[in-house]
């Protein structure tokens, strides 16, 4: 007995101790990574509250007192509010993002539903086509896209930014996989017997049943569209101030030579990321779960 204790007891003790030290070292490492992740944003917020000279003279980890002066400069000074106007940016970005998100989830659900529920000749082919085109990046088609839009005289309008959202192959793929696992076809038949029209079955039965999938995809579509800099920048060629989206405003800050006050620049950047960070804080659990779903490949 004592021999066993001598052998196993000690071993177990050292094993636990080993685990404890490993856990501790890892926790420290994770805290370090957390700091690396948050430090740029922390400095951003701190610097948004400091004056230009303070920022140039040294780094600080405590907020300054210059926030209101920076706000006044950013919104009041002609040199600044003709380059970066956060309200116009929010409005335009929100307009484009809201419509494209709604279009993406609604029409993707509709396409997935059409492929999942009905039997028709081109069913398998059309799904294969969707899978194939999932990987074609925007950057490849953009030269032809811009040339085509120039021909149609649709550049400098929001149409080419909103309408393409209807065709989102990756979202269709996700919705189809979701439907396969949790949308029994008997429901459609039951609705038919009750005299429900096909479109109404989709809108009032299928969509409510797919809420979880739609929510996840809506969040990602929203983030992707809100952050999109490439497409608006290439379509809104004459970059009229009233039409600019938020990322375009920020790129104008970078290009402008009148935008010299560091405090105002930091404040502008902070305002540009504020909405998306708030959304993230509220929805982070769903977002992380959604990313994890994307990683499951059966």
């Amino acid at each position: 007995m004592s021999k066993m204790k001598a052998v196993y007891g000690e071993d177990k003790g050292s094993y636990t101790a080993k685990l404890r030290t490993k856990s501790m070292i890892l926790t420290i490492w994770f805290i370090f990574l957390t700091i690396v992740c948050l430090l740029p944003m922390y400095i951003l917020i701190i610097n948004a509250t400091r004056s230009s000279t303070e920022i140039a003279n040294g780094i600080s980890f405590i907020p300054g007192t210059n926030l209101f002066k920076n706000i006044k400069k950013l919104f009041g000074d002609v040199n600044y509010n003709t380059v970066f106007n956060v309200w116009i940016g929010y409005r335009n970005s929100f307009f484009i993002t809201a419509f494209s998100t709604i279009f993406t989830v609604f029409f993707s659900a509709m396409t997935a539903y059409g492929i999942h529920v009905y039997d028709f000749k081109l069913k398998e082919i059309s799904y294969t086509v969707i899978l194939l085109v999932m990987m074609v990046p925007m950057q490849v088609t953009s030269a032809g896209f811009v040339a085509f839009m120039l021909k149609l005289k649709l550049t400098d309008t929001y149409w080419p930014l909103i309408l393409p959202a209807i065709a989102a192959p990756a979202v269709v793929y996700f919705m189809r996989s979701y439907m396969k696992s949790s949308f029994p076809l008997d429901i459609v038949e039951a609705a038919r017997i009750d005299g429900c029209s096909e479109f109404r079955t989709f809108v009032s039965i299928a969509i409510p049943m797919m809420k979880p999938a739609i929510a996840v995809q809506a969040i990602f579509a929203f983030i992707a569209s809100w952050n999109n800099f490439y497409t608006p920048n290439m379509i809104l060629i004459s970059s009229k101030f009233k039409q600019k989206t938020l990322p375009m405003m920020i790129s104008a800050v970078q290009a402008s030579d009148k935008f010299t006050d560091y405090g105002a620049i930091y404040l502008a950047i902070a305002l540009s990321i504020l909405p998306i960070v708030i959304i993230y804080i509220i929805l982070s659990k769903f977002i992380i779960a959604g990313v994890a779903l994307g990683g499951v490949k059966e």
Binding site: L38, F148, I288
Partner: protein, 349 residues
Amino acid sequence: MASAAQRRIKSISYAKYGYLFILPFFIVYFFFQLWPLINTFILSFQDNKTGDFIGFDNFKTILAGAGGRAARNVSKSFYKSFGNTVLLWCGNFIPQIALSLSLAVWFTEANLKIPGKGFFKIVMYLPNIITAASVAVLFLQLCGEAVNTPGSLNLLLSKLGIVKHDTVSDKYDTIKFITGTAQARGVVMFIQTWLWFGNTMIMLMSGIQGINPSLFEAASIDGATSGQVFRKITLPLLSPIMAYTLVTSMIGGLQMFDIPYLYHKDPNNVNKDLKTVAVYIYEYFHDQTDPKMGYAGAASVILFIITLILGCIAFYLTRDKDEIAKKKQRKKAAQQLKQQNKQFGGLSL
């Protein structure tokens, strides 16, 4: 027990509704993606100015520099931007995968007691959702290199004693994070890693969680160390997902645009050491005074072919192996049946 109504419904063909439901997708897809893609191919065979058909001349110019000094510059710039893309991608992917993989393994190890796992995950994913354009401009500010008014990073380094501060002239011996070739590339690689490691980590974590837990249990009963478990169980079973991550990251890397495009001080020119293929294409078709649609189209086609190859690899790696095996078996069975039938002179016995 099908009722009369049910039988009636069965006899109605609903195929037309199927077409109706998928119609909007395909119409929009045709106009806004497929036609632009075809149009890109057409452009690649056309002259930059006149739009005449010139065969493979644009490709020859870009790939071989055929046709004078200007053409050689176009070609040189293409290879340079391609090299930049590959370099920036490697410099971001290697640290990213190392970091994500180790974090994913540690986060999923059941017997480690780490408080606040959920919080760490949320924080590490946070950079990924922030507008890339804002991130680029933010880092441009943080990495400011002016000797009189350096950015926060140089100030931080001067506090740590790495960057020298001349108190007499009040000038800093700053590190050139924006104009220096290696430094600027390093910053962009860091930003890309910073943006993406959380995303990759969560993907890999869900992959590890998908591995049968009894394997880990058996290994721990047999007294395997965590290193052995990682090498012999986690890594081999995770390899399809790792391969998928690798290929999708490569395709994403070929599209790298926002950060290299915005991370420069000179208001008119992109830093030539950061110019990626996507920026290269963009500059040609977006040029207001002298757009070179032909070059943009040809470079896009080259990019498309590379993406296509990578996409096929991804498709091959993530294909449903069981499904394919089943299909093969079915084929074999059908063939055997055919042969049997032949043996008896086509007579079914």
